[in-house]
Symmetry: C2
Subunit: 503 residues, 2 copies
């Protein structure tokens, strides 16, 4: 298809009139055609209104129709072939192989949710007709959902990513606010969604796609028809949406995945056995995708000693070899440089190594620093994420101080323990703290790379996300968009399909 620069209000294409913007190739800074028109408040109201109209017919349509919609979106995305990958690469500077993998994950998620829908267990049907009243419970969709595309996963956390897939699976129409860093990728995937909705015979309002920045997003979250929000991005961005959602006449949940630093604990036994190898593996994880994963390891915590020196030297040497890479946008590159400068300038921070120099304003030079645990514990700002390939090693006097550092950390998506045989007792002492802190705990691995599995948790305590009760990856991501309704003594003809006796 030819890109048009137009939003989708249901099935209708429209050029936004509230301004315009273009994507840029982060590798060169060059603008990419076409121009995208920005959606205004009327566009937001139209998209939300169509979603509200579509809600009842969509959530009461047969589950098979809903499943086919999800399958149809997946098929349409695959059918876009290289067109999609090439545009996404031009807009994000992410390598083709990574984007192909992300596409596989994205269509996999959609088909996985189609299977979840077909199984029907997510409805948690409970029927109790033994007491004097006939009570029947089913979980049903919450209502239209606003989804914000994320810059760092232009496919898997964007227009038809996990939030959209799980909201549609729940029977909730979706209005996407495309991330302005990849509008063309968004248009391609949005059109794949539009065509799948059309083929399914469902109302057009099941899916709309808007363009814009903060103003468009704010209007969308504030619209009374919207009943929940899915967001992955910065802490400031997430908090702004949460504030808007709270100030509505009817407050709504914002499922925001904000920022975190994913601490890695290198326990003494593991360091003794594998310090050299761990240094290299850590740097590979740190620089993967130019450090732009939500699960990027921004903090390493270990006890001082020869083994830590070995790790540090290995990591420094590995980092020095790493090329500067193009970040997703010039804005992110600027924020990275500012964040890295701020990190270097904190009291007690020493630079251990830098990667190869940046060739232009869009690139990030990897950075590895260290600090004593005393200085780390005295700082208010060192837990702030520096989005990109920067990390900080916290050097502890002893295991007791390592436990103190663990206890001082904010909520995180992940924490990782590197262990060998002698480390079990210390690991056991850390567990209560780590379990309170995170959504996912890893042993002897690195947190980058999130498998889509029924057992995955991509979520965690504040401020890593807005609520530790949910995951945004995996089958139970659908729970965010469902609520229970009980039907008491209802005649069969008025019951939802899932609750009828002849089901």
């Amino acid at each position: 298809m030819t890109l048009t620069g137009e939003m989708l209000l249901g099935s209708r294409r429209k050029r936004g009139q509230a301004g315009h913007f273009q994507a840029a190739d982060p590798r060169t800074g060059e603008s990419l055609l076409p121009e995208y028109g920005i959606s205004d408040d009327d566009d937001v109201a139209q998209a939300a209104g169509l979603a509200a109209q579509a809600f009842y017919p969509f959530r009461t349509a047969p589950l098979e129709t809903r499943a086919r919609l999800l399958d149809g979106i997946a098929d349409n995305i695959e059918a876009l072939g290289d067109t999609l990958i090439e545009r996404a690469a031009a807009e994000t500077a992410l390598p083709v192989a990574r984007l192909q993998g992300e596409r596989a994950r994205t269509v996999g998620q959609l088909r996985r949710f189609a299977a979840v829908v077909r199984r029907g267990e997510f409805q948690r049907v409970a029927i109790d007709s033994q007491q004097s009243d006939d009570l029947r419970l089913v979980k049903t969709g919450l209502g239209p959902v606003a989804v914000f595309g994320a810059s760092n996963f232009p496919l898997a956390f964007s227009v038809a990513g996990g939030d959209t897939a799980s909201a549609l699976a729940a029977g909730c129409p979706v209005v996407v606010k495309a991330h302005p860093a990849h509008p063309g990728t968004s248009e391609l995937v949005g059109d794949a969604c539009r065509r799948a909705v059309e083929a399914s015979g469902l109302p057009e309002g099941v899916f709309s796609l808007l363009y814009g920045e903060r103003e468009t997003g704010s209007a969308l979250v504030a619209h009374p028809a919207i009943q929940a929000v899915g967001f992955t991005g910065s802490r400031a961005g997430g908090m702004a949406l949460i504030d808007i959602a709270r100030q509505r006449k009817v407050p709504i949940p914002v499922y925001a995945e904000m920022s975190c630093i994913n601490p890695i604990f290198l326990l003494p036994g593991a360091l003794q056995r594998r310090a050299q190898a761990l240094g290299g593996e850590f740097v590979d994880s740190l620089t993967l995708g130019c450090g732009q994963f939500c699960t990027n390891p921004g903090l390493v915590i270990a006890c001082a000693g020869d083994d830590l020196d070995t790790f540090r030297n290995a990591a420094s040497a590995a980092l020095a070899d790493k090329a500067a890479g193009a970040l997703l946008t010039r804005g992110i590159a600027r924020a990275y440089r500012e964040g890295a400068d701020r990190l270097e300038q904190q009291p007690g921070v020493q630079v251990l190594a830098r990667g190869q120099q940046a060739n232009n304003d869009g690139q990030a030079q990897p950075l590895l620093c260290q600090i004593s645990a005393d200085d780390f514990l005295a700082s208010d700002v060192l837990q702030q994420e520096v989005f990109g390939p920067a990390s900080l090693i916290v050097v502890c006097r002893d295991a007791q101080q390592l436990e103190a550092v663990a206890g001082a950390l904010e909520g995180q998506l992940t924490a990782t323990l590197h262990l060998a045989d002698g480390d079990t007792a210390l690991a056991g002492r850390l567990m209560p703290t780590l379990e309170r802190m995170v959504g996912r705990l890893l042993v002897n691995g690195f947190p980058t790379g999130v498998a889509v599995s029924a057992a995955m948790v991509h979520g965690g305590p504040w401020p890593s996300t807005s609520s530790p009760l949910y995951t945004s990856v995996g089958d139970s991501a659908i729970e965010r968009f469902l609520r229970p309704i009980c039907y008491q003594n209802f005649p069969t003809e008025l019951l939802p399909a899932a609750l009828k006796d002849d089901q």
Copy 2:
């Protein structure tokens, strides 16, 4: 046991020093001994601190220990016998038979959650070891929970009510802020909890009981150790706690059940067949427990005509026969009189009938009013709950206007349809609106009386509760206090019991 007027900080009794108060018999206004000391910020910090210490040992103790704790509390409450019922009757003016029923419900809830714990399904264990990583998910307790006793259910929504039972079942220590209207009942039940904790061998901090009003409650919700809040009460009270919870460094969920008016729709066919009988049944539901149920029917919506006249006359006659009853507190009685006066004075409101006159300041005279749908739709205040035995009939021109009234209603715990054969089409048209509006839908019944069942939903959209995703009654009430954690490639010895292979 002899009442002491002391709070429980874990197993330790302490007399509060931040002031004192006494319960009063709402029937006579007479003060009841002993004096209760009010908990100060240090007491709150101690209770929360003990809860934080108890959290890890409690949530990792065998499920059987947790189940026995719940059973033990139930046994201890039953063993209090008439002492509990008599004190509760003196503090609340609720009839003995009602309190006996409420006690049965309360111990039933506790034992039901013990069974939920023993089954273990609530942990939602998922194990995926087929991919390259071994991923294991379990839902675990969120952390210490603050529970606010409700005035209108001195047993079932108070010290050891549904919030406490479900939080303990989730493995979360509980700090209760007793409702000041029934401190003696609270002390008796609190001591039943304390003894059960002691007998279980669990840490004392699993349960604490504080006394006070807004200040004590605010300090409790603001305390960093508290991770969730359960509240049933007024809209103003719930909103105040929600604000405090949001302003914390780490915001936490407040599960607040606030206020609603539980609309009853009398469809034309049902009115034609049963208008007379419905009038009497409605008034019985309205005046049950002196109108102090969360599910009290505060609004009746029907189309004008002879059948509605019949209903109205029957209801008016039935109401005129109803005695004035003692409300839970003098404060509630005052608020009822103010609310009833405000209702009468709204433009277009006509008084249809009053119950028998009050004999004293603590009693409520039942009240039934009517208004045209046009006037109702023009009003901003007629959806405000009048807590007590007052209700309003909204007279619609036709079915279309009845649908318009339905569409204008706020979120509710329940909505009820009275139907006969010819009403199915109209009921079907109302369903999308009603399903969006409520947590429980009833046909041909009345919403008072909430069965404790796996299929029950006691919850609903804002402002009836703070979130439509949950129920505070029924097995899934436990979900409010659980969050998922994923363990990736963990050695068996560090896994939680539920995730070990040999389970």
